[in-house]
Symmetry: C2
Amino acid sequence: MVDELPDGLVPRHPMPDDQRRVLAVMDAWWAGFQGDAGSLQRSLLLPRLFFQHFTDSSFLVERDDGALVAFLVGFVSQSQPEVAYIHFVGVDPSVRRRGVGVSLYHRFFRLATARGCRRVRCVTSPGNAASLAFHTGIGFQVEPGDAMIEGLPVHRDYDGPGLHRVAFTRTLTDPTSRL
Amino acid sequence: MVDELPDGLVPRHPMPDDQRRVLAVMDAWWAGFQGDAGSLQRSLLLPRLFFQHFTDSSFLVERDDGALVAFLVGFVSQSQPEVAYIHFVGVDPSVRRRGVGVSLYHRFFRLATARGCRRVRCVTSPGNAASLAFHTGIGFQVEPGDAMIEGLPVHRDYDGPGLHRVAFTRTLTDPTSRL
């Protein structure tokens, strides 16, 4: 199945204290992107509330020695019950290109489908070519934006002044999408 | 009723584009606290997702001329359905001490009770005496922490390194709490 993980990797739902572990690896996984300011920004995007109140729709992946190698934080929209949203995903560079990210997304798609959602949405930063390729590769479409940056539709100031985003959506009901 | 607003103030649920309006007033309402870094931090704590996916449990208050004077962003916990969580609240300094904040909290308490929640949780930063007085004044209790700062129990690194928090909880089932 497309949501199977490589041998030796085990998924589970996160608990509140896993937030520290996720924050602790992010600087390494993001290669210190934007230094201390970047580190603080990543912390603020993952306040503890996500590890308290959205644990049942979020996932961690650990090696059998207990080391954290990936996470996905997502939820079902409270005000749009047909929509699920993926907020933040990270994969340890040492296990990339082995299908770990794809597996986590498909686990989330399956969970969201079981809860009655019809589509999944998420955003990424403009210029993140790897993220763009990943999302379009697993069936996301880029939503129209209000400007073009590097050939892609972008929502300017989507998350705040200067925080432009590319928005993705993927149907969960298309029978040709492999779930 | 305790959730009535002063004359001329009108509540409604927010829409996605209200996020820009909320971010635009925050620097003024927080008196530019911590400068540009503080402004960015406030943006990151209120990404657009809260104005897309948790609108039905969140509130804005506008004057009858349309000016924004208060907001409350909250949700029902997805993984702990008996818990509701208040994430971020702001009140225009020009309307403070008129019960606007109390009214918004009580609106949220009523909504959470109607959805089957038994308690409401929220956090604030250590040393925010006004927030402490406000929350204890409307029936919140301070949760035990892992350190004492200025005489209060604090959860160190609660939201990330250096992001200490005081945690509050308030029952919704106590018949003596005026709802």
